[in-house]
Amino acid sequence: LPGIFKYKELNKKLECKCPPADIKPVKITAYRWIFEDLKHFNNHHPPLKIEPNRLADSDDCEHNCDGYALSLFTSADKAEKKLKRFLDKKPLLAEVLGNCIAEVNISETDGEGDTPEKKYGHFNFHEYENVNLNFTFIKKLKIE
């Protein structure tokens, strides 16, 4: 039986199909950018639930739909590399995205993800309702 998505009501308001049809349940050890305080709101919420959002100007329905997904990575190393790149470009992004890497074990009953992109292994993960992912802190990035 397919799960019910956490932000089902908000997804419905979008004009496109959200979450997209090509995502599927995944069983994976994934990695996420987080704040050192594991209870930090941003650690557990997708961008459109973190206020304010930078999607305000977007008229692209698919981008807005991604805003209801958690950003995850397939390896800790790739997650770290990508975060470092972004913090070099926007130093204060650390206050929005966090400056730590966490690990999370995901099972098929937690939600559905899209295909990870090749270079950094980034994928969007749409949680099912009543799922609270359990993050384990791995490391804090050194900001030069």
């Binding site: 304010p52 959002n53 130093p91 204060l92 992004l93 206050e95 270079k119």
Partner: protein
């Protein structure tokens, strides 16, 4: 509790005066971080996300010329270059709330952008971070724009610059990957201070050294100068600050004073800079440095050492240029941390020395025929320790510890550059019983 955003000086205006429409994104992660917009005249604008709290996102909005945008997208210009060089040199600071409504709008100057808002100096555009790139290119015909050479890699044409003012000119161009140290038209004052004083010290020490060499005074133990002469010579090596250019940080200096013909019919400043650049070139390897060691002295090497250490420690790139427009001469040299470390190693093994001859009268305290070593005490009580010269070595059995001798001893002082310890090597070259 939401954090307070940085207070940036500027002129607050009630409304954002432009109608902009979104074209695409040059940096995107979970939303726009660097958006491209167009105004009513189809001119490109950039909206750079810089800071946020729980209520607002802050953006810097600025107009860029299509050529600048093309050079950024085709990776000739860095992000830092474009944010620091907007059209008309002004930016709008915009705070937008959750709904996207503007709650604060200010006109600010590039010089007031806080370091925390700026990307690292070497950050360039990466296609994988963008959205709708093809549309951005098409919208502003960026594919048809002839790309310029990245002027950050090329320091100014110093000769052209010198000709404008028709005076000798020195340019110190400072770059760093760390925008909090050196940015466009901005520099941490401690770094600028150190670079200027290191160059000045090197230039002054070179002026004094050239004067001594030309005056054939190098073999004298102490150079005696008339009152005020040393300061007068030093001013020949001094420069005065002329102006600054913003890319990354360039300081232009011109000689404070110069004497024509004092040094080989050249201006004093050209001779000084010729010597400095000869040192720069020679120091690239230990062998060539050793060849010019006789023309160097301790003050030059100490100031050169200090300059290189600063480059190494601060991890900056320093380009030094000199130009004389009257004879079209220019010198250029660039140092980065890697090169500084290499030269410091070369300087470390360089030994510079001077030889002094003394003629003490006294008695031997020890004679060693195996190693040809001696210990000698003068009538004044000074102890000399060293070796006999090759000529004296064979007659060592003729000397004794009882008789009084008139000797000639050469004392060679050897000092590693940049180090304080001086080694003395003594050789007895003549010894006659009284």
């Amino acid at each position: 509790l939401s954090k307070i955003l940085r207070n940036i000086p500027g002129l607050e205006i009630p409304n954002f005066p432009l109608e902009l429409s979104k074209v695409g994104d040059l940096l995107y992660f979970e939303g726009s971080l660097m958006g491209v917009y167009s105004d009513a005249n189809n001119s490109p604008y950039i909206l750079d996300w810089v800071e946020a709290n729980d209520h607002v996102n802050r953006w810097l909005a600025y107009k860029v010329e299509p050529e600048v945008l093309a050079n950024y997208i085709f990776r000739n210009y860095t992000h830092s270059q474009i944010i620091n060089n907007p059209t008309n040199n002004i930016l709008f600071l915009i705070d937008k709330d959750i709904k996207g409504d503007i709650v604060l709008c200010k006109i600010i100057s590039t010089k007031d952008i806080p370091y925390e808002y700026l990307p690292k100096n070497d950050v360039k555009f990466e296609e994988e971070d963008s959205k709708k790139l093809e549309y951005i290119k098409k919208k502003f015909n960026l594919d048809d724009i002839k790309l310029q050479i990245n002027d950050d890699d090329i320091v100014f044409d110093i000769l052209k610059e010198a000709k404008k003012s028709d005076s000798e000119l020195i340019n110190l161009h400072i770059k760093s990957k760390d925008s909090s140290k050196v940015g466009f038209g901005k520099i941490r004052s401690s770094i600028l201070g150190a670079v200027l004083s290191n160059y000045n010290n090197l230039s002054e020490a070179t002026a004094v050294n050239i004067f001594d060499i030309k005056g054939k005074l190098t073999n004298e133990n102490k150079v005696r100068r008339h009152k005020g002469e040393l300061n007068e010579i030093k001013t020949l090596g001094e420069t005065e600050f002329v102006y600054v250019k913003a890319a990354s940080f360039s300081v232009f200096l011109k000689p404070l004073k110069h004497r024509q013909g004092l040094f080989d019919n050249q201006t004093s400043s050209q001779s000084i800079n010729q010597s400095i650049f000869d040192l720069f070139e020679a120091s690239a390897n230990a062998e060539s440095l050793n060849k010019i060691k006789d023309s160097l002295d301790d003050s030059i090497l100490l100031s050169y050492n200090n300059m290189l250490k600063e480059i190494k420690e601060q991890d900056i790139t320093l380009s030094i240029q000199y130009a004389n427009p009257s004879n079209d001469i220019k010198f250029e040299e660039t140092f980065d941390a890697k090169k500084a470390i290499k030269i410091l190693k070369n300087l470390d093994v360089l030994e510079i020395g001077k030889t002094e001859t003394v003629r003490p009268k006294g008695t031997f305290k020890a004679l060693d025929s195996l190693s040809s070593n001696f210990k000698f005490e003068s009538l004044e009580g000074d102890i000399f320790e060293g070796k006999f010269s090759d000529q004296l070595k064979s007659g060592i059995f003729l000397f004794n510890l009882k008789d009084l001798y008139q000797t000639t001893i050469e004392i060679e002082e050897i000092k590693s550059s940049g180090k304080k310890n001086i080694k003395e090597k003594m050789t007895m070259v003549s010894c006659i019983v009284e």
